[in-house]
Every structure is written in C-alpha cells, then in structure tokens.
Symmetry: C2
C-alpha cells in the first residue's frame, strides 16, 4: 500500500488565487446567505432553519430536498479549505456556531438528518434507495475531517464519529442489521477519510462493506421496497444502473447511470483498493477509468451525456448540445483521478485532473463568482434551450442558485482545496502533478525539502522551481509531462538534467542542494484536436486546445450561426494574451470560411451545392471555462474544419 | 372563386399501382383485423367493439383513446378510395355492414361518438380541448364523402349530415350555443368537403365559424375548463399554440404547435379562402406556407422537428435525429398543398406534394405493407434510439401497429387516393401536376379531352402523353416543371412546342387533335443538395436528390459509422437501376473518404488532427423512402462533403 501523505501547500498562483478569493469573498458569504434564506428572489433553501427545527429551537416544517442538509455540510467543507488558505476568525466563529447547532440537532443515539428528525420521525432507514440519509452523513463526515484538519477543532468530528458509530450498529451482516447501502454513494469515500484521521478501522471496514455488497441479489432495493409495501419495479427509471447497483461493482464493465454517483463510488473504490491492496478492485477501477476517459468523457472533462438520469449513456455517445455534463460530475472525476493517481503514478490521471480543473469544472462558475452552471454543454444554441423541451436542462446563462444546489458548494470546495492536487510523495519520490504556482515541503526519506513553484499556467508551460532541502540530499523529484506536450526540456541550475521518463512523469534523481533552480519548459502549442471517429457528434470538426485549456467560439466574437463557420485546416492560428478580457485570457484567432447563400436563391431552404458560397473571415476563440460571461449567445467548442 | 373539378383518374403507374395493391391486399385487410382485435401480439384496438357496445349489441366498457372511433373512419375512407381503383364486392359489403353498425351506434339526436356514448354519457361537449369529439366527427364526414363519391351509397353520408345538423345546433353564436371549437382541427376541412357534395351552405358556414373564432379572447379552452372546474393553466403543455389557438388564425405569423393539427387547419383555411374569396385568409395561408416550407420543413417534406407536443419548434431548427416528422404530418402537408394549388397555380405546391409523396410519407410504410413508422427521422443511430430517453420516440425499425394508430390508416388513404393529386382543371386549362402514369379526361370548355400519361417516374423524367379530344379543340394544357429540373423540353408530335412558362408551369396552347403525342422530357440529374446555412444541423453536409427522390445512406451498404464518411465534393456520382433491390430502385454510388485513426493512437478518445487519416472508399445511396427494409442499422440523409 502506498498512500500519498497530505501535503501542506501554499498557493501563490495568480489564476487560482483569484478563484480562491472569489470563493472566500463571494461564494462562501453568498452561500451562507442562501442557506439562511436571505437571497432576495431566490427560492429559500431552508437548510439552516431545518437544523433549528430539528434542534427544537424553532417551530416549523422541514422544507427542501431530502438531502437539503448536505448543502450545509458542503459549505462547512468549503469554509475549512478556505480557512486553510487564509484564516478568518469571524468566518470560523460562524462555522463553529453552525457546528454547535448541528450538534444540538443530533439525536441522542447519534443520528443526524433533519428530514427524518422533523418530517418523518420513526421512518429512518426505510428508503435508502431514494432518500440520501447516508449520502448526507457522508458530506458531514467530509466537512468534519476538513474542518478538523484545518482548525484542529474536534467538535464536528466527534459528532460524526458518534453518527458513524451508530450507523455501524445499524448496517452490517448481523441478524438485526440492514444489509444495505445508500442509493447515492458518498459515505463510502467519506468513511475512508474519517478512518485516515481517526485510524478507526471499523470506519474503513464499513466503507468496504457498503462497496462489497452493492448490487448483490436478491437486490437490497427490492427487499427494502417490499418491506415498505412498494412495488420494486416502480423504482426510479426502472433501472438499478442509475445507482450503479445493477451488478456487484467488480462485475461492472462500463460506467453507467447517474454520473455523480458513479464517480463518487469509483473514488471510494480506488481509495479502498489502495488501502486494502485489493487487486480485483484495482482492476475494476482501471477498467472503468479506461471506459470513462476513452469512451464517455468530453474534451472538457465533462461526463454524463444524457439528461435523463443525469447519466452516462453509451460508448462514444457524446452529443455536444444535449449533454448533461454536470459540474459536480467533473468535480467527482477529479476526486477519482486523485485516488487513481495514488494507486499508480501515471500521467493520465493528472491529465484528466488538469483537463477538468481548467475546463469542465470552473465553467460552472461565473467569473464574478455569483452565478453557476449545473449543466455544461459544449455547444449552445440559446433558442433550442428556450424552445425545445429536450433541451430544457440547458441554460444559456448561469443561474443565481438552484433548487437542488449541489453544484455551487461543490465547485467552491474544489477551488478552495485545489492545492491538495498539486503535489504528493510516494515511495520517497516527490511528485509534481500540476503546474500551479505554490510552495510546499516534501519529506524525502527523513529530509524536509522545500519546493517553491512559479508559473504562469495555464497560459505558459514555462515553470520554475526553487528547491531548498534542509540539508543536501540525494533524492528523486518527478514532474508530470502533460499528455498535450509535444516536447519538454528540464534544466537544473542552467544545465540539461538527466531525466527518466516513465508513464507521463519525468524523474530527476540527484543530490539536491539549497537553492537549486529547476526550469521545466513545456512549450504550449495551439492544437487542432479531433475526436475518435466513433464519436459521431464531432465528425468533421476540430476543437482548439492550448496546453490544458480547451477553447470555444462565442457569438459575441464571431457573429451569429457558428455552424456556418469552417476553420481553415492548415492556416496559422495566432495567440494573444488579453489582460482586459475575461480576467485575462489567451485569445486565439485565425482564418475561417463562412458559408452564405448567393443572393439569387432567395428564401429557399434547400438548394444545390453550387448555390452556396464561402467567404473568407476570421474567428476568435476564448477559453471554454470563460464562456457566457458576456451575455447570452451561441457557443461551440467543436468547429467544422477542412482537415 | 376557382375550384378544381374532381378528376376521374385511372392509374397505370408501376410505382403507385404497386403501393395501391399493397393497400388493397395487405393494409386494408390487416387494419380490418386490427380494428377487430384479431392481430396476435398487438395491443387490441377495440374500435369495432366500441361501436357494438354503443349500439347496445354487446356488453362491455369503452377501450382505447378518446379518438379511437376515427380509426374506423379512416379505414372506411381508405376502402372507398381503394374501391375506386378496383371494385371488390366483398370488401364493399364489409364496409356496408360497418356503416350499418355506425348507424345503430348513432344516438337519436344525431350524436356519434362511442367514447361519450359508452363511457361518459351526459358529458358531451365538456372538453373540446382534449377529447376530439369534432375531430372524430370530421373523419367520419371525410369517410362518408369518399364512400358516397365512389359507391353512390348515401347511408353514411346521411348519418353524418344528421350528425352535423345536430352539431350545428350546438355550436354557434346563439345564447344557448357553444362558441367553441375542437382542440384537434379536422372537422373544418371535412365540413367543406361535405358542403361540396351536399351543397348545404350551413356546412360551409360552420367550418368558417370554427376557423374564425379560434384563438379568440377570452379563450374558449379557459372558459370551458372553468366550467368543468379545472384550472385553465393546467392545460396541456401550458400553451395554446399546441392547438394553434394561441391567436386568431389570421394573426398567426409562423406555424407552431402540433404539426398535424396545424396542417389540417391550414388545409381548411386554404379551402375556405378559396370558397369564400377571403383575401385575409389567403394571405395568412401564403405566409404560413412560406414559413413552413422555407423555414421548418425537412428535405423529405417531413414537418414537426420536436417530439414534445409532436410539434413545430422554431425557424431553421431541423435536427435530423431528434425530429418527430410524423407520417401523418407530411400527409397533412399534401392535403394543404393541394388546397394552396387550388388558390394559385404555382409549381411550389406541386413541388411539395411531390417531395412528400416520394419521401416523407411513404417512408412510413414498410415495402411489404405490414409495418409502419410514426416518426420519420433523417438520421438514425439505433443505439441512441434504444439507450437515450430523449430519442425514445425514434424507432430504428417499423412497428406492426401503434396504440395511437393514426399513421397506418392515414398513409393508406393517401396512397389509395394518390390519383386525385395528378390533374386538375382550372380556368379551362388542363393541369398536369404530377408525373404519375394514368388516364384522365379534362373538360376544356365543353369538350372532353382524354389524356393518357405514361412515365417511369420517379426514376425517369421522360414522360409521354396521348391526347384524345372528342373533337379537335383549341385549348391549353399546363405541365408542372418541377423545382428540381435544370431544363426541360416539350415536343408535340415530334416538334418542339411553343410553351409559356409561368410560376413553375409550362403552358401549351394550341389546337389539340385526336392522337396528339406530347413528349415532355425533364432530365433527372443527381443533385448535391445543401440546406440554408441557418439550418445548423446540416452545416457542411450534402444530401443527394435525383428528381423528387431524396437519398440516404444505410449501414447495410456503407458499414458502421456513417458519420465518418465524407462524400467527395466534385467526383462523379453514378446511378444504376437495380430491379432486384427494394422493389426496384435507382441506386447512387460514388467516391468518399472515411476518417480513421492511425494505429499509434491506441484507445485515445481525443487526438491531434494529424493522428487521423482518411481512406478512399465508395458510398452507396438508396431512396430514403425505402430505408429500414433490410434490417436495423444506421441511416443518414445528410452526409459530410468537402464542397
């Protein structure tokens, strides 16, 4: 078993520090107001009120989704990560008060869930399939672990240990226990985190139990439904693949069902495989990873190509406009990739993390931090979103808040914790996975080695490191060479370093001395990307990518009807950094052709091919993550090209 | 007012006679069995049984849709047209017996509807919005008119006159009358037909009443719902455009809502505009015609691009795979076009009729006459139809029968009556609208002129006519020059004729003598068609059309992944008539390129454009109407092309 030890990381990166300030200054306060029903015009969340009612401190009814509590948990988790980057005593006091409230809402036996406490007392654990009890618990566990790790305060951790100790009596193989699991996976990955900070093996075993029995026959959700007096076949969408319980997890060949549930489960599976050195689980994770990233993932690291069930559909079915590609799903993919990376030092995992964090995750948040996308399509024709029922999930502009508000707090916690993805130590090797300017300290053997990274990522692949071991030390540092790199050079103190490249990492083994300077240069070229021909939606089209950043064309830059544009296959594409635009972005531009009708065709809808002409024009592309920040209009990532 | 007199037409056309035999020998008997619940494995129709129960001759409950009766009506109508082409005494006796049954199910006051008679007696006319009472009546009127015209038998006509006389007392401006209309337009067009055979002006006025008050405020469906105690806003899809009652018809700028309802209404409007010389209605019809055919119609003459509401969506929104393009909607478009043609001798109407009858209507029926498409997409990836909820309306294979069985009898009646679209006389000019081999007789002035047409349409534009006036007569014949024609030549008795071409018709005025031979040659070239650039779904793509026939590529001829094919923009496309294939079709073939990945990319989903290559290959295209007759597979009408 090799586990990456938790790295303390101090971010200095201009790209990510801006996002983290946004989370601190805009998102967390905004979400706090939302949880307290103080946002005018938005549907009230009722989340804090539910806790007050559950604590017996206020009269009223429960309101919101069955998983409404989890919004509070995700907020605490985001606060914790944010406090790590910048202490804020007032915020911490607010958070402590919420934690006190949670404590008062907890039941004497450790149970915690305001829906069942307030609305359906006595009905606990009767509908695991639909009602998210363990899911909500999982989010509070994650919050508790994060808050403890940052502040050292144990109150929430104790609350959640008490909760889990209680859950552990309810679930299990015993005669009076429930041999079951939650419809929405989440507690599994959280229990492993809890095990890590508490070292309580029962928590790990409970996670293992939930994973191992999932998908067993006779099916738990059938048995549970019968006990309730429901017809099992009335189950949501009539398919257990929705919750990845159609088969035991080790028998699942492809990713299917609700994408967020899937990647949360895969995260737990990879983490368990690592903790338990479980070869069959490891193989399953790798098979599912390959399926997702080679058959079911968008160029932006979006996953979930179907709105119905917010789900994976089938291999190579990647419609750009109908996709669901939920912000949360890409975030979950990042969680999973990190655990896969812990299983195996392979650059493909870092590639996906990078693809996700610079594209399909942060596309979910407005540049000013006040609005959010739940759905992140790669092509939008606003009229379709407004007029077609089959596109009703697609929004052409970010929304202030959602009834089901999972994505905003989720993107907040990802951004606030982005530092945790940059480095790791494994087998005494210090790994650099991401090029985010920051400082950390590796412990190589018994020597502490401070590393400071500076870069202008994602706009430049020119990265500097200063290495400061407490004393000169022989050791290995490994640098991820991204999948998009055509070449790289790595100099130490001005001289080309001897590197060994293996599975996407360049390993440099030498004696490291105080003040060593590493210069890693990974030229970022503008790439015309194509999709595998089986991905029909992208046939005849290219997408522009520069470094990890995927580009898109917007109507505001390119006029109406982006489909009428064709990018010239061989002409030069130019880049220009525009500091004023969209908080500073590299802009791409080049030559294109626009199809137009000749004037003598009149109003004809169909004509002979000789009746259309193409006129020379230019195109402008901006980073995908920054789309829809300048009003509403068409957008497309994939553009026709005469390759 | 100019009305086309009803032409007696005797078909000799090999293409259409085959279809008519199919209707006679397969469809009509099959549908009769279906109406009588004798098809094993198919959901019982219960339609005939409902009539027996309503007639008090059998015990039982009503089953089926509220409009189940209309299946019987459409069957009778198809039988009538079929008897016109070939008398069949046994079939006629069966039909007479059904008509007797209908008579016995009619209520003493003239009311006829088994749903309300059996299931909700006393609730007549309480939910016009949803329950199709007048719609069903309209179909029986159409059946009655057709059966009377063919057989001279008046029984059903009398039943329906009695029905309409009763309806005329219920609906109107009077104090005790309902100032309302049906949610599904149909009776309007039927009443005009009934007026023509009976010359009863009240019937025409009733049609006019229904059309004129539609969309008035306060809205009839609101008032009606309130009377029922329903909340008006609970109305289907929350929009009155679904039934084209969101605005008075003359204020409707674009076609919207349920496509079949729309074109049935437009048919009545055009017919009324003609009968009443109503200029504002005429202008409305022309505006809506232009909108449909220039902005909302597929190349196959399919209409209705959205499944939700089986509806028009918005201008240029023409997705090939998600479309609804119901068989019935294209059939309704033919009805409408014929009435537009009666308003104005303009080739565009005949062009649409031709486009519909050789493409998007007959695509609805299997070549062997036993299975049917309700939805006629222009692109199918069977996996999407099976795995994506948003494509659940799409079928990759025709189905034996439908719960809502509107399309099979509708296509039967269109095919059986196809002769009625070929000729007309207007202002003493004999018009030839379609090139379907047949014989007819024009009355020009007071001279009967027999015309015999022979052709091998739709495979050849080489058409012969023999003209036999009872005596030599000075007169004009007009021949439609199709929109797809690049040129034509018209010879009379071996000499180039003097023609005047106006609005898509070539007029030949001369003295016609016994045995005059006309040779009209309209060369059919293989056309690479493109769509207006605003129709985004077809950007960068061509469709092949030869004469009126639109082509498609099928997987069975071209292998998997049709999206990976690109047709060479300039290379020759060859044609070959294959007598053995699909009952004999012209097959097109030519050069194409297929995109493939280079071997060193492995399993990558995304790659640089240089990592894909194109290999030379060939493609084979077959007529669209004949797709899905050789098992299941991909199909596409629009194919990428380097134009």
């Amino acid at each position: 078993m090799t586990v990456h030890s938790k790295q303390q990381v101090k971010l200095t990166d201009s790209f990510w520090c801006r996002y983290q300030s946004l989370v601190r200054e805009k998102v967390i306060p905004y979400q706090w107001q939302a949880l307290n029903d103080q946002i005018e015009g938005a549907a009230p969340s009722h989340a804090i009120k539910n806790f007050r009612i559950a604590a017996g401190e206020e009269e009223g009814e429960f309101h919101g989704f069955v998983f409404q509590d989890s919004d509070v948990a995700k907020w605490i988790e985001a606060v914790a990560y944010s406090l790590e980057t910048e202490r804020d005593l007032e915020l911490e006091r607010t958070c402590d008060e919420v934690i006190d409230l949670i404590g008062r809402a907890q039941q004497p036996d450790g149970y915690l869930n305001t829906y069942y406490t307030v609305k359906e007392p006595g009905k606990r654990w009767t509908n695991l399939r639909d009602n998210h009890e363990l899911y909500v618990g999982g989010h509070f566990i994650e919050a508790a672990v994060a808050y403890y790790e940052v502040t050292g305060k144990k109150k929430l951790l104790n609350i959640m240990c008490q909760f889990v100790d209680y859950v552990d009596t309810i679930f299990g193989d015993g005669e009076d226990q429930i041999r079951g699991y939650d419809g929405h996976q989440e507690i599994e990955l959280a229990l492993i985190k809890l095990y890590r900070v508490t070292e309580e093996v029962r928590y790990l075993k409970l996670a293992q139990f939930f994973i191992d029995i999932r998908g067993e026959q006779p099916h738990f959700f059938n048995l549970e439904a019968e006990k309730r007096g429901d017809k099992p076949h009335r189950w949501f969408h009539d398919s257990y693949s929705y919750s990845q319980s159609h088969l035991p997890v080790r028998e699942q060949e492809v990713a299917s069902g609700h994408a967020v549930r899937a990647v949360y489960m895969f995260t737990a599976m990879a983490d368990l495989a690592n903790e338990l050195d479980d070869e069959s689980l490891k193989k399953t994770c790798q098979r599912l990873w390959n399926n997702v990233t080679q058959k079911q993932m968008y160029l932006t690291a979006g996953i979930g190509s179907a709105e119905f069930g917010e789900a994976f559909s089938f291999d190579y079915d990647l419609p750009n406009d109908l996709s669901y590609t939920e912000t949360c799903a890409s975030i979950g993919l990042v969680f999973w990739a990190q655990k896969m990376l812990a299983l195996e030092a392979n650059g493909v995992y870092g590639d996906v993390i990078e693809r996700a964090i610079y594209n399909g995750t942060i596309s979910g948040i407005q540049l000013d931090g006040t609005k959010f996308f739940y759905v992140n399509p790669l092509e939008v024709w606003p009229k379709q979103a407004y007029h077609r029922h089959d596109y009703k999930h697609v929004k052409a502009e970010r929304q202030p808040w959602f009834g089901c508000a999972c994505c905003p707090p989720n993107i907040a916690r990802l951004i606030a914790s982005i530092g945790s993805y940059v480095y790791s130590v494994r087998d005494h090797i210090g790994f650099v996975h991401l090029y985010i300017a920051s400082a950390t300290a590796f412990t190589l053997g018994d020597t502490r080695v401070e590393v400071a990274q500076t870069s202008n990522f994602p706009w430049s692949g020119d990265i500097q490191f200063t290495v400061n071991p407490e004393r000169s030390v022989e050791g290995t540092l490994a640098f991820r060479i991204p999948g998009w790199a055509r070449s790289f050079s790595l100099m130490v103190n001005g001289e080309e370093a001897h590197t060994q490249v293996s599975k996407g990492y360049a390993y440099v083994t030498r004696t490291w001395n105080q003040g060593d300077e590493i210069h890693l240069d990974i030229p970022m070229e503008i790439e015309r990307m194509v999709a595998h021909p089986n991905a029909k939606a992208n046939a005849g089209k290219i997408a522009l990518q520069r470094g990890p950043v995927v580009y898109c064309l917007e109507q505001v830059d390119n006029g109406e009807n982006l489909a009428s544009l064709e990018i010239n296959g061989d002409s030069l594409i130019e880049e220009r950094f525009d500091e004023e635009l969209l908080n500073g972005v590299m802009v791409l531009s080049g030559k294109a052709k626009r199809t137009e009708v000749t004037s003598d065709v009149g109003q004809a809808l169909y004509m002979r091919s000789e009746d259309v002409i193409t006129n020379e024009t230019t195109f402008t592309a901006i980073p995908y993550y920054a789309w829809a920040n300048r009003g509403e209009g068409e957008m497309t990532v994939w553009v026709r090209s005469n390759m």
